[in-house]
Subunit: 144 residues, 2 copies
DNA sequence: TATTGTTATACTCTATAACTATA
DNA sequence: TATAGTTATAGAGTATAACAATA
């Protein structure tokens, strides 16, 4: 079957999704990287900055300003690890959890309106396939 | 059904696809924007620079250097429109077609290896859904 | 000597505005 | 006056390397 490149289709789709996220994030006073950090701490099991950076696909130097602002806003805590005083243990606060939940709900509402244009059977398959592909590339199980 | 944000899944997937494209493009001596231009002229019906920029989601100022290099490499032609001498008519050369075809074949081979990890039934549905979503956002038929 | 987090610097993109030549 | 293409400038985002503290 002849088709366009995947990247050629994914790029504008991602751009549209990001454009839709922007006003929601601004309304809640966080940046995209800030939301990525909150999301990783909300769901995940990362504890150090290095692990966090790896989890969200960012450079360790790139998240520092973001962490500073999230901490100042009381959305995360950052304390030295007593067992390795080089490292900082990150944790999301209750307010951080609530904010992340609010943002995610708003974002997924918009996404659901987009996905509503797909036939219901296709929608589930699309999401399942996307989950699979995401996992494959994140866990480096596939060398493209 | 609880799920991650679409953008959160799409972003690393797109990054992986782009990373896989990079060496192929370098091998053929074109940049990502160069390949985007060739692809639009290869498939499409755009004739002016403004239309091309819009088609590939770029600013008109951003593609000029790219067009210069593609023209110098004999991959495209760029001639003043006799009916409106402000505009330039773009066209892809035979060599441009061949190069674009070679690159696309290589890229889609890599993509197919990734997609091969999906069940065959899911693969078709995924591509169909992606086509649909791509069309929706590109034609601005959906306001997220 | 290696690693965690941090800072500083340089570089690449990108967006914006100003310019020309045509209309 | 408006538009197609071009150029120049400034800003944002990013990568790289160097640093301090700890292991």
């Amino acid at each position: 079957m002849s088709r366009r490149d995947l990247a050629e289709m994914l790029h504008p789709l991602l751009q549209a999704l990001i454009a839709a996220e922007r006003p929601v994030l601004a309304e809640h006073g966080v940046t995209m990287w800030g939301y990525a950090v909150l999301g990783a701490l909300h769901d995940g099991s990362v504890r150090t900055q290095a692990a966090l950076a790896e989890a969200i696909g960012a450079d360790k130097t790139r998240i520092i300003g973001t962490l500073d602002r999230l901490q100042a806003a009381g959305l995360i805590t950052r304390e030295p690890d007593p067992r390795d005083r080089r490292a900082r243990i990150l944790a999301i606060t209750g307010e951080g959890h609530r904010l992340c939940g609010s943002i995610r709900a708003r974002i997924q509402e918009a996404e659901d309106r987009l996905l509503a244009h797909l036939p219901e059977a296709d929608r589930e398959t699309f999401l399942r396939a996307l989950h699979t592909l995401h996992r494959l590339v994140r866990e480096a199980e596939v060398t493209l």
